[in-house]
Symmetry: C2
Subunit: 232 residues, 2 copies
DNA sequence: TTTATGTAAATGATATATCTTTAACCTCGG
DNA sequence: CCGAGGTTAAAGATATATCATTTACATAAA
């Protein structure tokens, strides 16, 4: 439990009404930016004490994250941050491409100039984050950029699945961020914005696919190449 | 709680070790075959009493299903079987196509003759279920048919998302089954098997897309056309 | 009659106690 | 020195009690 202090779990925005929600969001954020190393065991009592709650809501939060594939329940009933191998990583990237292209396509009819401006604002903030090398901020902004687009569509069926995939890639965020930076993702965002402005469905898909594949996709390959074999 | 008897929740296969798992699987199955009508409230205490457990594991099961988008948590904290509209239904079908094509493609390299034979066996059972008009059995067999294929791939990242989508479509299973029958889905399964035998990736995708679109897809459209507007 | 308001009942959320399972360790026999 | 078996400690699972919120209902005032 003493070991948990390195989780760096930020308390986000407004207070969450229920304890389980507070715990959930705290853990989720930590996972999303890669603050918890794959393989780490999430012990209920330890977390409960660390976060100042009783075991019940902590348990719920852990189960919720497990359902979202962000945590893995072992046969021993222990819950850990999943270890994934190169093959699974590859599939997660493919999933991102398929899901996010669909999400973008479906959002396109609902995209307004105001929304595009919003995305441009976020992109500008990202440029600043890049030059400051604020990795965690960059992660969050990048997600915000994509989220703003995908949630323009009032039928929210794709987004929950996208978030599940993001969560699964989260633990590798920090390892990859360094590498990703060198590929300079932000250019692709300009392409995305162009495609939106021109209502170009095909171009939008290509831009998003490129953003993903040449960003996390390539960085991930390097990360997984350097480590021989890692089994789940 | 007296009202719950119409859930028709089968106790499936081997006993589940933990209570929350037993409850989860029971509810999941009920949702999957459409035994619980959209809009139904899932009250913790009522379910606990009905299923002979304490509230705690029931709560967990409900939360888990909520995370999988199979149940909806309202602002009032009540949990219900979601009501979806035509737009959301359309997207769920699109998701099935995209996800299942990906799952099939990724599974193809791992497909053996034994596995194909297994699928043929299931398909034969489906033919019998069709002639007997055993709708629930047909649902289960159809899922089994697809599952056997997709899980040939050892990297299981796509399948959990597929199951989430299936669960979301579940509540409409029974309404659609009648209509689906008239379109006679089983033919598409033969196409799928052919494509597998010939290792034809493109053909496989087409067959799966056809199976989905001309099965549930078309049936769903009719269901949603007949009911004017239904909001979530 | 309608609406506001207060109270009681229902329901969800959480803390706690207890039970069960798993893991760690230690002794004893080979 | 190593492994089997048993004992203890740790961690998860569940039942229960209690707290907080929401809903339902009834009463009273406009």
């Amino acid at each position: 439990m003493d070991k948990l202090s390195h989780f760096e779990m930020p308390v986000i925005s407004g207070e969450y009404i229920t304890a389980h929600e507070a715990v959930y969001h705290r853990l989720r954020n930590a996972l999303m930016v890669g603050a918890i190393k794959p393989g780490t065991a999430m012990r209920i009592r330890a977390l409960a004490q660390y976060l100042g709650h009783s075991p019940t809501p902590v348990r719920e939060a852990l189960r919720r994250l497990s359902s979202e594939n962000a945590l893995q329940v072992l046969d021993n009933r222990r819950i850990i941050v999943p270890l994934i191998n190169a093959g699974q990583f590859e599939e997660l990237i493919l999933l991102r491409v398929k899901l996010e292209c669909l999400a973008a396509e479906r959002a396109l009819p609902y995209v307004s100039q105001i929304l595009i401006d919003h995305m441009i604002t976020i992109d500008t903030q990202m440029d600043r984050a890049v030059s400051k090398k604020s990795f965690d901020a960059l992660s969050v902004l990048n997600q915000e950029f994509h989220t703003v687009l995908y949630t323009a569509n009032p039928n929210q069926t794709v987004m929950p699945l996208v978030e599940s995939v993001w969560l699964q890639l989260g633990p590798f965020q920090r390892q990859m961020m360094n590498k990703t930076l060198s590929y300079y993702v932000v250019d692709h965002h300009k392409h995305i914005i162009n495609a939106l402005t021109q209502r170009d469905t095909k171009g939008l898909c290509n831009a998003i696919a490129a953003d993903i594949c040449e960003g996390v996709g390539r960085a991930g390959k390097e990360v997984f190449a350097s480590q021989s074999e890692q089994c789940a």
